[in-house]
Symmetry: C2
Subunit: 151 residues, 2 copies
């Protein structure tokens, strides 16, 4: 099954701070989407609201390893996302903190996957910029669409 | 074999203008890398110079379909890139011009592929911004690294 993969590196940012960004609603709001409900605790479900998707996109929290890793499973939202997993891996190396990202388990390498890959890159670069002292560009915040599909 | 895929959509930009950006050295310089040598004609080879990679990264031009598609094969540069293909597909749809991108034929989904995926997203968003009247952020120009690997 095809995967979306990404990697950013941050200077003067601790693994704990990156973990905060990928494991809390406040963290998500800084780079991903400003609106979410639910709880980011293992076994629980949190829900993001994008655009006019009134039902939102729901994720089950599979794994929370402080400072190291988080994993979520999509359980509601776009059909193509259902049962796909998001994985965030964090480590310190050579003066940087590295964040590796994977959105895995796509059924096909279709046009929506192409779009989501670029959109993830956009968000993750915002995560880096925010944690390094600049601004993120989360959905619902300082966001610029990459195509009409982002609106 | 795993692939990197991306998609951006541009308003008030013709397919011909997107084709210019993905088929000429002047176009490449607006979003990808400012320094290149060689000729972008079918069967010829052009070479990009990144960072201290003094030998550069070389691409054979496989296909040039004006307004529609370009394809290149990497024939020199990072070991992981050798024999991989870049494909750019252009079409007009619903008031936008869509650019689909694929960097295909990676031998493995390793850390360098993760990095390159985010880097391509960064460059392609710059291509969109440039063609819509803003600024691109090509290597050698207005470029911000996504990690120490970009420097």
């Amino acid at each position: 099954m095809p995967n979306i993969v990404h990697r950013v590196g941050m200077e003067n940012v601790t693994p704990e701070r990156v973990y905060w960004a990928v494991s809390t609603k406040e963290g998500f709001a800084s780079w991903w989407t400003v609106k979410s409900n639910g709880r980011v605790t293992e076994g629980d479900i949190f829900v993001f609201t994008f655009a006019d998707d009134s039902a939102g996109t729901a994720f089950e929290v599979l794994e929370l390893m402080p400072g190291k890793r988080t994993a979520f499973k999509c359980v509601g939202g776009p059909q193509e996302w259902i049962d796909t997993h998001l994985e965030f891996e964090i480590r310190a190396e050579g003066g940087e903190t590295i964040l590796m990202f994977k959105h895995c388990g796509w059924r096909e390498e279709g046009e929506f996957m192409h779009h989501c890959s670029t959109q993830w890159g956009y968000f993750l670069i915002g995560l880096k910029e925010f944690l390094e002292g600049g601004e993120g560009h989360p959905y619902g915040g300082n966001f610029q669409p990459i195509s009409s599909w982002s609106k």
